[in-house]
């Protein structure tokens, strides 16, 4: 990932900054600048998600790309944030502990690094409440 691409999304990665449509009340993560339901009647504002949610489904990654090999086996899940939007993220827990419906909260972790001398990509993962 280029430095600029990482930097551009820091608010979303660190603080789960998404958007909300004031017209229909729907939340969007990653953020949308346009409400697909309300269209021109929509009014989009920034929203920081609470970081609490529940596991909708998950998979255990045992064979990963080189960048994440040291973390295997790790849990990757689709999490429904309490505001309603869904996000795919790592849940820091053992493959034996993870369950569908598990309540989780956000944590701040290293996601990846650009080699030995490149930028460290920090961001949000989740952990059981």
């Amino acid at each position: 990932m280029s430095v600029a691409r990482f930097w551009r999304k820091i608010p979303q990665r660190y603080n789960l900054i998404g958007t909300k449509c004031l017209t229909c009340g729907r939340y969007f993560y990653p953020p949308r600048t346009f409400c697909p339901l309300c269209r021109r009647d929509g009014k989009i504002v920034e929203h920081e998600f609470s970081g609490r949610g529940k596991v909708i489904t998950f998979t255990v990654i045992r064979s990963s790309s080189d960048q994440f090999e040291h973390l295997t086996p790790y849990v990757l899940a689709i999490i429904e944030l309490e505001e309603g939007s869904r996000v795919t993220a790592q849940v820091v827990t053992s493959p034996e502990e993870i369950k569908i419906g598990m309540q989780v909260k956000r944590i701040f972790r290293k996601i990846s690094t650009d080699g030995e001398s490149g930028v460290i990509h920090y961001g949000t993962k989740f952990t059981p409440l």
Binding site: I10, N15, E48, L71, F108, R109, K110, E116, I120, Y122
Partner: protein, 350 residues
């Protein structure tokens, strides 16, 4: 009245026991446990570093008391293990608590006392009116070379203190320092692990500087150990703080709540700050806390702190953030091989 507005701590979930380390490098675990007064130490997860620990500690502090991010005018992070040699951890923390961009920030390094130096800086900025709130953090994923004596204690954890004037939960009445050029412990640029002067770290290092700062603050304030309910000293092991407390006239009961090293290890920049946090976890309004840090190189910062009614007031909710004892519960114990992987001690093909 300048003081602590709120505070938070973070300790990783993983631990390694002394006997697991002696299994690999030899030595008698009973002798080492008795010698250090340490039974186990915390270990960071594979994706944790001094920055992630600092962020979690700061967020735990803000769970206890809401402070407007736009009123946080300074972020200072003290650590011996900043993830970057050049690029501030403090900027990452500032961004992660939404305090950027209208703030000043810097990383501090003064061995194990960089975090308390950050508290002093924030006090100065708050007292002068330059900022409303300042954030001071001590956070480390401490380094200790394989088979070195430091490996038995070098742990991971951090504490965050927000400093301000506006109804603090604990007033910091006075602070002063004692600093000299003493090479008792160091890490050269580019080196992975620190070196130390063995027994030289004791008398000319820890004891001289802690006693120097304590005697100075007692002279300046007219206080003595009997004026304090609790006392916290830097804890590289359990023996040093117990011995210096006895020399200075503090009782074992005064240092007990803040003596967290036996089941946590030495969190370097986090050490005395986590001890202070553990003491604040149980402190009541009107109780007085004495704190003295120590950083090799060498220096000590002493603080005269008094808990206020605000700790039980409507703006501060202690139970909203995890206590130090909460964070020490339910550890996951690692074998040495996994510990070595977590600490990056296994050299991989690059």
């Amino acid at each position: 009245m300048t003081g602590i507005m709120t505070y938070g701590v973070y300790i990783p979930r993983y631990r390694i026991k002394i006997e697991e380390i002696t299994k690999v490098w030899g030595g008698n675990p009973d002798e080492i446990r008795n010698g250090l007064g340490v039974f186990e130490k915390s270990v960071p997860d594979l994706d944790e570093d001094a920055a992630t620990i600092a962020v979690e500690a700061a967020r735990n502090a803000l769970m206890r008391r809401h402070l407007s991010p736009h009123e946080i005018g300074a972020v200072y992070v003290g650590s011996e293990s900043h993830p970057y040699a050049v690029k501030p951890t403090a900027c990452t923390v500032g961004e992660a608590i939404s305090a950027t961009p209208m703030m000043t920030a810097a990383d501090y390094e003064f061995a194990c006392k960089a975090g308390t130096a950050a508290i002093q800086t924030c006090m100065g900025l708050v007292k002068s009116g330059m900022i409303k709130y300042g954030l001071a953090i001590g956070s480390d994923v401490s380094q200790g070379a394989p088979s070195d004596a430091l490996e038995y204690t070098a742990a991971a954890g951090g504490a965050a203190f927000f400093i301000g004037n506006d109804d603090p939960i604990a007033a910091i009445h006075h602070t002063c320092s004692y600093t000299t050029d003493t090479p008792d412990f160091w890490r050269r640029e580019g080196q992975d692990y620190p070196r130390h002067g063995g027994r030289f770290t004791g008398e000319p290092g820890y004891f001289r500087h802690v006693q120097g700062a304590v005697n100075r603050i007692f002279q300046e304030t007219g206080k003595s150990p009997k004026d304090y309910t609790y006392a916290v000293f830097h804890q590289p092991n359990a023996k040093f703080p117990q011995r210096v407390a006895k020399i200075l006239g503090f009782s074992p009961e005064q240092i007990k709540p803040g003596l967290v090293v036996p089941h946590l290890g030495n969190t370097y920049s986090g050490s005395s700050m986590i001890g202070l946090a553990a003491t604040l976890d149980i402190a009541k309004p009107g109780e007085r806390i004495f704190v003295c840090s120590f950083g090799s190189g060498a220096g000590s910062d002493a603080f005269d702190i008094e808990v206020t009614d605000a700790i039980e007031g409507p703006d501060f909710k202690l139970s909203a953030g995890p206590s130090v004892q909460d964070l020490l519960k339910n550890p996951v114990y690692l074998e040495y091989a996994l510990y070595a992987k977590h600490k990056g001690k296994i050299v991989m093909q690059r």
